[in-house]
């Protein structure tokens, strides 16, 4: 590490190291962040929701969407219907790889199902467009 020789160099370093801490900075301000919940729970482990998670996270990262958090959630969001049929204690709601998107201040999420890599890309670019529009 060479020494920092000016305020501008410090600024460049700050932008670089912001990647270390931005997750912590954004998470403490829950009111202004967009949250993407990838439902995994017990069923998701079997149905490939972990791949969905990876796809979503990689897309968000590639788009450098700082104020968007990707969070794993239990599957109950998608299938908390008590009458849903169960096999071996697992719900069979018929929907896998569910993704909920909560925009800041909104109670109701946008819900997507059967999200694969292509759909993940679509969802994240949709979020980017909407956040940019809100910002402008």
């Amino acid at each position: 590490m060479a020494k920092v020789n000016s305020r501008e160099e410090l600024k460049a370093l700050r932008e670089k190291y912001r990647d270390n801490v931005v997750m912590r900075l954004v998470s403490d301000d829950q009111k202004t962040r967009t949250e993407i919940y990838v439902a995994i729970g017990n069923c998701g482990m079997e149905s490939g929701a972990r791949d969905t998670l990876k796809a979503i996270f990689d897309e968000v990262n590639a788009a450098r969407l700082e104020k968007v958090s990707v969070i794993v959630s239990d599957c109950s969001k998608g299938c908390d219907d008590a009458d849903a049929p169960k096999v071996d204690g697992l719900f069979l709601c018929g929907h896998d790889r569910m993704v909920d998107v909560y925009f800041p201040g909104e109670e109701q999420p946008l819900r997507y199902k059967d999200v694969d890599a292509a759909k993940a890309k679509e969802i994240v670019s949709g979020i980017a467009v909407r956040l940019e529009a809100a910002h402008a």
């Binding site: 000016s6 410090l10 700050r14 912001r18 931005v22 997750m23 998470s27 729970g41 990707v70 969070i71």
Partner: protein, 604 residues
């Protein structure tokens, strides 16, 4: 952008280390490897989160889940359920003591809700052993600003305008202190950081140095720039090994990045910081005694004037501030004095860090705006008194402060209000006492501390405090005389008036304040030979009443075998037990053994 999907912060303060956070870190790593997701998680050992009572604490980002009392064995469930499947581990969440509901996010907890973190802003948030984290949250920008935008006078003007007062206890305006340092022309000047935190129950400065050491270093460099010093010394006690270690790491990193050393950021400004270990003498928290100690002399106070800003370390102009004062400086420079002044009271702007200890549910480190009432601190943030006991008093300012009783609980805490009710801010220790604490005994405890810590230079402090201690000792043993109470007041006033330094000036405060607010307890000891709280062993007797059913549970736990079945007969024809008061050592072990529905043993 993000290197990993998850960041897990483990509290790495001294409190959480002693409750087992190192094992948590180890087990967490093992478990992540077992489940094959080690590469999805960054683990950061951060500084103190403040909620020491509930440690070790683990925070999961970006979920924002706050787990308490996490142990090594819990890690596997945390990884397999929460990190993999998104199912929160409910049993490790903090439960609201009022509603019983689980709190997922720390801002849902009463402990954090009303807190405002300025000095502790990055404590428990950045990795204290990694300068990159600190730079990432805007670290060293304030120093850069001072080196490129401000003249020396302008830096001081900003600090003055913020109204920042010294957090070490006396509350002297920091900007004025720096001004004296600048005005005294000299080739060589020094900056000192007073980290000699010695009050019983206080750990504010320690936590800042453990959690955010770069903030202190940056502020010292700013102070050096402001007054024209090129050398800084952190005077810290050797019994803070973790803080010392993290400071040293931070200094080395700052030098490597060119934030300390020669020609910092090409400005022509040179500044170095070194750490000086103290042996842990309370009097060395007094600035002139500290300077003596730094020079290798006995830690005894010097006469003031000349003040350190005129003739300090090695007789050169020296500015000495406390850790917490420094921790506020970078934010004041970056965000402006008006930002700082919006918090707190008119004469005491900003916030204050307090260490809550004693008979309180939420033991820990808190930061609140000045002017917050003691009632809010104790009953909302602190969660009240354990086991439903009654609040009796709170000691602020450590051994130099005084006891504050119930009637003053609605006073907003700042430098001036606390002084006006006979206590002081001190460095921020707060010890809560309940109905089981005897105030005479408490005063004796603090005085014992100052007697031991008095450097011995001034007769009133050296001998006067010892005499006061003897009187208090006599009173707690039931041998006090009514004239003792008069003598305590007179001695106390004389010691305050005739001692040279802050230690002697304030040592009688715990006695004088308890005499003011709890005279009835002193009188009960002296006039009636009773200790109302039942804490003074010599004034207490344990007695077995006729409710005794001769079950013998008490006799079995008695360590000196002084409980024998020699009393009257129970309806079943068994002999009731009797305590032999000659042999009894008043340990109280028998009391909880008597079943509550019987309740035959009483303390009188």
């Amino acid at each position: 952008m993000h290197k990993t999907r998850l960041q897990i912060l483990i509290c790495g303060g001294t409190g959480c280390i002693s409750s087992g956070c190192l094992d948590v870190e180890e087990q967490l790593i093992a478990s992540l490897e077992k489940h094959g997701i080690r590469d999805e998680v960054t683990i950061i050992k951060a500084g103190c989160f403040g909620f020491c009572e509930q440690g070790p604490i683990v925070k999961v980002y970006p979920d924002n889940t706050f787990y308490v009392k996490v142990h090594g064995d819990d890690c596997d469930e945390l990884v397999s359920e929460h990190l993999l499947k998104g199912k929160h581990v409910d049993r490790l969440l903090f439960k609201s003591p009022i509603t019983g509901e689980s709190c997922h996010h720390h801002m849902d907890m009463a402990f954090y809700k009303t807190q405002l973190r300025i000095a502790l802003m990055h404590c428990g948030m950045v990795d204290p052993e990694n300068i990159e984290d600190y730079i990432g949250v805007g670290g060293y920008e304030a120093l850069a600003k001072c080196l490129t935008e401000y003249t020396q006078q302008e830096i001081i003007d900003v600090v003055k305008a913020s109204g920042l007062r010294g957090r070490g206890g006396a509350g002297f305006p920091t900007g004025n202190k720096w001004q004296f340092g600048l005005n005294n022309q000299n080739d060589k000047k020094y900056i000192i950081c007073n980290a000699d935190e010695g009050d019983p129950g206080a750990f504010m400065d320690r936590s800042i140095m453990e959690g955010d050491p770069h903030a202190v270093i940056e502020a010292m460099a700013i102070a050096g720039r402001a007054i024209g010093a090129d050398e800084g010394v952190v005077y810290i006690r050797a019994e803070y090994p973790l803080a010392v270690n993290r400071l040293r790491i931070a200094i080395a990193q700052a030098e490597k990045y060119g934030m300390l050393g020669d020609n910092i950021m090409n400005s022509g400004f040179n500044f170095r910081v070194r750490v000086n270990l103290g042996a842990g003498a309370f009097v060395c928290g007094e600035e002139t005694a500290l300077i003596n100690s730094l020079e290798g002399k006995r830690g005894e106070p010097r006469l003031r004037p000349p003040f350190p800003a005129q003739k300090g370390l090695w007789n050169q102009p020296t500015v000495n501030c406390n850790v917490e004062t420094y921790a506020c400086i970078p934010l004041i420079i970056n965000r402006g004095p008006e930002w700082f002044k919006q918090y707190g009271t008119e004469k005491s702007p900003g916030t204050k860090v307090f260490a809550l200890a004693g008979k309180i549910n939420n033991v820990g480190l808190i930061e609140v705006p000045m002017g917050t009432t003691l009632r809010e601190v104790i009953f909302e943030i602190g969660g009240g008194i354990p086991k439903g006991k009654k609040f009796k008093a709170i000691q602020t300012g450590g051994p130099s402060g005084g006891c504050i009783c119930e009637k003053h609980l609605d006073v907003g805490v700042d430098f001036d209000t606390l002084t006006s009710i006979g206590s002081m801010m001190g460095s921020g220790g707060m010890i809560v006492m309940d109905e089981d604490d005897c105030m005479v005994n408490i005063a004796k405890f603090y005085l014992e501390f100052t007697v031991e810590e008095s450097c011995g230079k001034c007769t009133p402090c050296r001998i006067g405090n010892t005499r006061m201690y003897e009187i208090l000792d006599r009173i707690t043993k039931g041998k006090g005389k009514p004239e003792d109470l008069v003598e305590l007041r007179e001695l106390g006033q004389t010691i305050k008036d005739a001692s040279l330094c802050g230690l002697g000036n304030t040592a009688p405060n715990p006695v004088l304040s308890t005499l003011n607010y709890f005279m009835d307890e002193y009188e009960a000891h002296v006039l009636h030979g009773k200790c109302p709280a039942g804490a003074c062993k010599d004034l207490v007797n344990f007695v077995i009443t006729d409710k005794c059913i001769a079950c013998s549970l008490c006799a079995k736990v008695c360590p000196v075998n002084c409980i024998h079945p020699t009393g009257s007969e129970t309806p079943n024809g068994k002999k009731r037990f009797v305590i032999d008061h000659e042999a009894c050592i008043k340990c109280g072990a028998c009391l909880p053994k008597c079943p509550p529905k019987i309740g035959a043993i009483i303390k009188e």
